[in-house]
């Protein structure tokens, strides 16, 4: 079945931006899940923060709410508090969620709010034309750090594991089918899902070659409920694992009220 998920919006991402891969994967994931009868199109709410990622809400033909910078997570918690039947998928960026809004991630994970958070992690502020973010590498030279950043990056997956998120995964924009497959799993997860999408910014932080050489997919049958293993895996740096690190079931916040 062909599900129409297009909108009239004119796409304003840079030509060749890896966000197009995310958009395609997401539309494919939704289309397949709707066709398979696993979710209802009318019930989908796409949330977004502010940044290049946020425009995705305009490009997907579903209900959507473009929130404020850093605040998409509480906005979506509100959506679920209002109507727990809705499928709440929130898009965010590394600046949006790991800088301005990180408090909300910790608490949404802690309460296991039924939100799927997809973070476009390009390790740079793109829309504001290239500044350091919490995931930028030490030494990153941007317009606000011309001598190079002196801060170590955070590992968002570690933060999420420590906060109690019940689904933790990572994908790379270079592998469309795998990204689609993990997105589908995240959407079907009941509870707070954190999906980090490694997304090279071709204008301000082109890391395509760096990641292409290092990423690898976790094995299908790798452990899913082993916190220690997951913590080890998400910290690997020489080679960068992709896939689901952690997946457990816990009571969902909005359904207990």
């Amino acid at each position: 079945m062909n599900i129409d998920l297009n909108t009239k919006a004119k796409n304003t991402w840079c030509p060749g931006c890896t966000n197009f891969m995310i958009l395609t994967a997401f539309k494919n994931a939704l289309s397949e899940l709707i066709t398979e009868g696993k979710i209802k199109k009318d019930n989908i709410v796409v949330g977004a923060g502010i940044g290049c990622h946020g425009k995705i809400a305009d490009y997907v033909g579903t209900n959507s709410i473009i929130s404020l910078h850093g605040r998409v997570v509480p906005t979506m918690t509100g959506v679920k508090l209002g109507n727990p039947n809705l499928t709440a998928i929130a898009f965010s960026g590394d600046g949006d969620s790991y800088a301005e809004g990180i408090e909300h991630l910790v608490h949404a994970a802690k309460r296991n709010s039924d939100i799927k958070l997809f973070v476009h992690n390009n390790q740079v502020f793109g829309l504001t034309t290239g500044q350091v973010t919490p995931t930028s590498n030490r030494g990153y030279k941007g317009k606000s750090t011309p001598q190079g950043s002196v801060e170590e990056p955070i590992n968002p997956q570690m933060v999420m594991l420590a906060s109690g998120a019940t689904f933790i995964a990572r994908v790379y924009t270079g592998d469309l089918p795998f990204m689609t497959q993990i997105m589908k799993k995240a959407i079907l997860h009941k509870g707070f899902a954190h999906l980090e999408i490694i997304q090279p910014c071709i204008s301000f932080n082109d890391t395509r070659d760096y990641f292409k050489e290092r990423v690898y997919n976790l094995e299908e049958n790798s452990p899913k409920n082993d916190l220690q293993w997951a913590m080890q895996k998400v910290q690997e740096k020489e080679r960068i694992p992709l896939g689901i690190f952690y997946e457990v079931e816990k009571p969902v916040f909005e359904e207990q009220l």
Binding site: D42, I44, N63, I65, S67, P74, T77, L81
Partner: protein, 565 residues
């Protein structure tokens, strides 16, 4: 003062935090209410958990009263400090009830009534908090009030745990009986009248519930916290969800998400929390999301004096980032708090914009009589349309209000946006569309201004023909309505209840022919006078401003008004 005016009596009960003075004061207020009096009870306490000086002051009368008074008929002192701090406020005939374990209370003979409060409490192995029951029992004996009614209060409040309070009250009652004290009596009332008492925060919450609120989301902040407490307690009864979030920023964004999903939602906070909410309230403006925020003011700036009262946030709550229509309403008493709680929720959903309800600590936490049966609140109809394929969230129309559909509706896409947007909710940077959207949002004001007049955004009391006018807003209403009973010249009292939009015509009508206008506010700069000057060009020269963190006292205020008139 009018000769026919009923006398007003005032009792103060005080102790250190943790002594239960506030709870006992509330029970005293409930007792007078049960006996058919009108009451007003205010609470004073410092920002700490144990120690400090807490008191509750209860005034009551056979006629409706709007404020408590400073002059006292009795003090119930649970500690030395209460007696020391307040004995100069006693009337000539006033008495002090005190625990006989305090041995250094100095007073005139016949003024001091020593009670074995702590020893009786120990004797009955009662929890220390229950000891105020001894004092209340003795109080009933002294003033010839039926102990049965006090016991009813205990049963209403404590249920199956009431017995220990009843026993302690009996001991206190008998103690004075045996001592053969002379009895003083209050004027008799018509006991058939049934009234309730409620504080401003609970009343506001009840009003919002009556208007269909199903989600209340908040972060604790004095003096708005008891809205959260009251609603959390009542939640199962009302089918209400009450959520405490990680910060005011989280709270307000959750409120927006919840309202977008189609559920009537509100929050409550004080000035500091409101400051954190303003960015999202601006989003409520552009995204046209119905939002209600209760802002209970306390003295600022910043952390200020957290447990006291002020009206310093009026300009702040009306000045949220960006240009868009918003509503600011300020109820003046508990009855109006209920009315405005409901009104705020309905207006937010009828006009799809943020509504701020400005309370202050004095209104939020003081108890007074209210009769909700006199005010009809229901969830008013919202504008909706045929949802479906052609739905556009921001469709243009004559009155600026686009029909609402919600996510989860068949074949309907609801797109909302903090960016400027076209009718379909998609981002726009078109100059023409941006301007059209501004005009659309501001088109709501036409009907809104009519609406504000229809529920009387300006209310007039006192001598309506008088050329001496006092103007005020919020909880100051209480002290003003009491004060004008004592002011030598007749006074017309004008309450401004709708701050945004300001009912300009009603206000100018109220001023017509005025010789002297006095602005009365609990702030340093006369913010209501500023708003009136901004909107009407009328400058009020005479101002009675107070910013010492306490509410106006009626007699004191009357003297200040006299001086100007």
């Amino acid at each position: 003062m009018n000769k026919n005016q009923e006398k007003i009596y005032t009792i103060l009960i005080g102790g250190q935090a943790g002594d239960g003075a506030r709870e006992a004061g509330v029970n005293l207020a409930r007792l007078f209410c049960k006996l058919g009096y009108y009451v007003f009870a205010s609470m004073e306490y410092p920002s700490l958990i144990r120690g400090g000086h807490n008191f509750c002051r209860v005034s009551f009368s056979k006629e409706k009263i709007f404020s408590d008074y400073r002059e006292l008929d009795a003090i119930i002192a649970l500690n030395q400090e209460t007696a020391d701090l307040h004995k100069n406020e006693l009337k000539k005939t006033g008495v002090i009830f005190f625990d006989n374990n305090i041995n250094s209370i100095i007073g005139k003979s016949g003024q001091l009534i020593s009670l074995p409060i702590t020893s009786y409490t120990k004797e009955l192995s009662a929890p220390p908090l229950a000891r105020t029951a001894v004092a209340l029992g003795a109080f009933c004996r002294y003033y010839d009030l039926p102990l049965l009614k006090l016991n009813e209060v205990f049963t209403d409040i404590f249920g199956s745990k009431a017995q220990i309070n009843i026993d302690l009250a009996q001991k206190g009652f008998d103690y004075l009986q045996d001592k053969n004290f002379g009895q003083t009596k209050f004027p008799k009332t018509d006991k058939k009248i049934k009234r309730q008492i409620i504080d401003g925060n609970a009343a506001t919450g009840e009003g919002m519930v009556a208007a269909g609120m199903k989600n209340y989301i908040a972060y604790p902040m004095t003096p708005a916290t008891s809205v959260l407490h009251h609603l959390a307690k009542q939640a199962p009864k009302y089918g209400l969800k009450v959520t405490q979030a990680e910060s005011e920023v989280a709270v307000i964004n959750m409120v927006l998400g919840s309202a977008y999903s189609g559920v009537r939602t509100a929050t409550g906070t004080s000035g500091g929390g409101f400051a954190l909410m303003t960015e999202a309230l601006s989003m409520a403006g552009i995204a046209e999301i119905p939002t209600v925020v209760v802002e209970s003011q306390r003295p600022g700036p910043s952390t200020g004096v957290p447990t006291r009262t002020a009206q310093g946030d009026l300009q702040f709550v009306r000045q949220i980032l960006g240009e868009f229509p918003r509503i600011v309403l300020a109820p003046g008493d508990q009855q109006e708090a209920y009315e405005i709680g409901g009104k705020a929720m309905n207006l937010a959903w009828q006009y799809q914009l943020p509504v701020m309800v400005a309370l202050d600590k004095h209104l939020s936490e003081s108890l007074a009589n209210a009769d909700f049966s006199k005010i009809k609140i229901k969830p008013e109809k919202i504008k909706t349309s045929k949802c479906g394929k052609n739905y556009q969230r921001y469709a243009f129309g004559a009155d600026g209000v686009s029909p609402l559909c919600f996510p989860g509706t068949k074949d309907t896409i609801v797109k909302v946006n903090s960016y400027e947007h076209s009718e379909d909710g998609l981002i726009t940077e078109s100059a023409e569309m941006t301007q059209k959207m501004f005009d659309k949002r501001f088109a709501k004001l036409k009907n809104l201004e009519k609406e504000i007049n229809s529920f009387k955004g300006v209310r007039i009391y006192g001598d309506k023909k008088s050329k001496n006018v006092v103007v005020f807003w919020g909880s100051t209403k209480g002290a003003v309505l009491e004060a004008i009973k004592y002011v030598k010249k007749p006074v017309k009292a004008v309450q401004v209840l709708a701050i945004e939009p300001l009912p300009i015509k009603s206000l100018l009508d109220a001023y017509k022919g005025a010789k002297k206008i006095i602005d009365i506010e609990l702030n340093h700069t006369g913010q209501l006078a500023q708003v009136i000057a901004e909107k009407t060009g009328l400058k009020i020269k005479n101002k009675i401003l107070k910013y010492d963190t306490f509410a106006f006292e009626p007699i004191e205020l009357a003297k200040k008004i006299d001086k100007i008139l």
